[in-house]
């Protein structure tokens, strides 16, 4: 199974792995780290997860069915080096693109799910990522079920696709607008990092917005901010800051995330005036 293969692929060869958090740097037993959903048991640092790892810890086992795999990225601006970059990321991640989308279930309740992969071009949103996410949202509307979108995107829009990547913001936002009109829940989960064009479109449009602790979340990329001589502090781009300022409903540690989602999905399906019956997936 693809999920399993990928999950293994991301575990280092050795039995021990050093905590990514430089202030911790603890040596962790890799199997235990996996059992802990890749959260450091010493410092609570949340390691980045690939899209498939996310799906594995989010959905009911074996419920995920991937969709929209036929969409292939092209080089619409003939940007030099873009194809080579894609090739590199494909080889490194065994993925074709930065988004994995599909259908699945939580507690047996149908959901659609779309996840951006921070290991693939730092999860940047080009045409294919935008299209996959929009289809994921539309599928929830068609099947009258909740939609779960999980962001891990440090770059926001994908520069190599220029203005076309900017349009993906409008596309995904409009799709969520239609989902709202249809009365179906959209939950967005923001993981480290969630920035710029992704945060300024679908990631900010969940009915409920959840973040993992200490994720970098914000509008301005730090490089851009530097170029424009901003006085933006690093803290302003964190889950905690965004929560404090009313932008994020809850900060939920990874180990509690599945339980939290279970509550939300259960309650969504138990709404007595819920629009439309759910359709079997």
């Amino acid at each position: 199974m693809a999920t399993e293969r990928d999950w293994r692929a991301r575990v280092p060869d050795g039995m021990w792995v050093k905590c990514e958090n430089p202030r911790c740097a603890q040596l962790l037993y890799s199997k235990e780290l996996d059992r802990n959903l890749r959260v450091c048991s010493h410092c609570d640092h949340h390691f980045r997860l690939s899209a498939r790892q996310r799906i594995a810890i989010t959905l009911d086992p074996d419920s995920f069915v991937e969709t929209d795999t036929e969409l292939m990225t092209v080089n619409p601006l003939n940007m030099e080096g873009y194809e080579a970059k894609l090739k590199r990321h494909r080889a490194r991640t065994s993925e074709m693109e930065a988004a994995v989308v599909g259908t699945g279930a939580i507690l047996g309740h149908p959901v659609t799910i779309g996840v951006t992969n921070p290991f693939f071009t730092v999860g940047s949103m080009g045409s294919v990522v935008g299209e996959k996410l929009a289809r994921c949202v539309e599928r929830a509307r068609d099947q009258r079920c909740p939609c779960i979108l999980i962001s891990g995107s440090g770059a926001g829009a994908r520069m190599e696709e220029g203005i076309l990547s900017l349009m993906q913001m409008a596309k995904t936002a409009a799709a969520i607008g239609r989902l709202r009109q249809a009365g179906q829940l959209c939950v967005t989960i923001l993981t480290n990092p969630t920035m710029a064009g992704v945060y300024a479109s679908w990631a900010s449009l969940g009915d409920i917005i959840i973040a993992e602790p200490r994720a970098m979340i914000g509008f301005a990329g730090q490089r851009v901010v530097k170029g424009t001589k901003s006085d933006l502090g690093a803290d302003a781009q964190s889950s905690e800051f965004q929560h404090e300022h009313g932008m994020i409903d809850r900060i939920v540690p990874r180990l509690e995330m599945r339980g939290f989602l279970e509550s939300l999905i259960r309650m969504t399906y138990a709404a007595p005036l819920r629009k439309g019956a759910s359709v079997e997936v």
Partner: protein, 326 residues
């Protein structure tokens, strides 16, 4: 429900004395291995009688004190005892995360609802964090967000009111406290899901009516609902109002649940445990749950257009006037 050490209102002195005697008896019984059950039963009867006496003598001003009692159950206490699951949601998506009003989806038996409610703090620290239940604009904008979500998702709304007043300081003014209160009422007036409102403690003027527009509006027996705090009213009526004048102002305002029922502002009074909800929070929550379920279920059966029209007609009818003939 965990409360800070018991605090007693002046007119509860009789209860305090009996409860101390009771504690003494219970200690002696357990330490000295004697059977004091007869004495204990007698004391329980006295306690009951004392509570009955106090209940019969609850003047409007005393009700104000009961409604504000620091041991009175608050919204999160009711949520903990009424609902099977509750996911608190935060933030107005605009400016801040105001803690003086809480809300989120919750399970009421087999179905889910959206709960919103003012929240006072129990400890000193929590009181400050929650601004003593006085809401800034962000609190009402959070409520609006949750109300709109409830409408989209098809969840009925339970709104619990317990606030001295909306925040009226400079910052609240600068961020539009008036607009926030006004817009929340407008939204609730037309929301296409059933809304059950309960004034559980203090129904303090604009801060209360902001989340007070529902298909059914109930009050706990000793809750108050007022256009202005009695202290404020006394200040308008008298210069440097004396305590008796404040008490008199409380009576003039007709702010008790019994007044509100008589004036057609509420549909029902939910009885409190003898002496007030602060004597038995869990019992109070059970009674409240029954009332909410009993009132909510017929609303769920109504066609939504009819529901909204009825709610509109309900508030349109509020007020008293005469019609002058020809």
């Amino acid at each position: 429900m965990k409360y800070s050490p018991s605090r007693w209102l002046p007119f509860e002195e009789g209860i305090r004395v009996i409860q101390e005697e009771m504690e003494d008896l219970l200690r002696r019984q357990s330490e000295q291995d004697v059977d004091l059950s007869a004495e204990i039963t007698a004391l329980q009867d006295r306690l009951e009688a004392e509570k009955r006496k106090i209940a019969s003598e609850l003047t409007p001003w005393r009700k104000v004190l009961v409604a504000r009692h620091p041991n009175r159950p608050y919204t999160l206490d009711y949520i903990a005892h009424i609902f099977d699951d509750f996911v608190e949601l935060h933030g107005d998506r605009r400016y801040g995360n105001d803690q003086s009003l809480v809300g989120g989806p919750a399970m009421l038996g087999d179905y889910s609802v959206m709960v919103i409610g003012h929240q006072k703090g129990r400890t000193t620290k929590e009181r400050q964090e929650r601004n003593f239940g006085s809401s800034n604009p962000e609190a009402y904008r959070k409520a609006q967000r949750l109300l709109e979500m409830a409408e989209r998702l098809g969840m009925p709304v339970i709104s619990l009111i317990d606030t001295p007043a909306a925040q009226c300081l400079f910052d609240a003014e600068a961020r539009g406290i008036s607009e926030a209160i006004a817009a929340t009422q407008l939204l609730m007036g037309g929301l296409r899901v059933p809304i059950v409102v309960v004034v559980t403690g203090e129904g303090g003027s604009g801060g209360a009516i902001a989340i007070g527009v529902g298909d059914v509006v109930m009050m706990l027996e000793h809750a108050i609902y007022s256009v202005i705090p009695p202290e404020g009213f006394a200040a308008i009526l008298y210069k440097n109002a004396a305590p008796e004048q404040v008490q008199q102002a409380a009576a003039l305002l007709r702010l008790t649940a019994q007044d509100a029922l008589e004036l057609g502002v509420i549909d029902e009074i939910i009885p409190e445990p003898l002496g007030g909800a602060h004597h038995d929070g869990i019992g109070m929550a059970a009674t409240l749950k029954q009332a909410i379920v009993r009132r909510l279920e017929p609303l769920l059966a109504l066609p939504v257009d009819e529901l909204v029209d009825q709610r509109y007609a309900k508030f349109r009818a509020m007020g008293k006037w005469e019609v002058r003939r020809g």
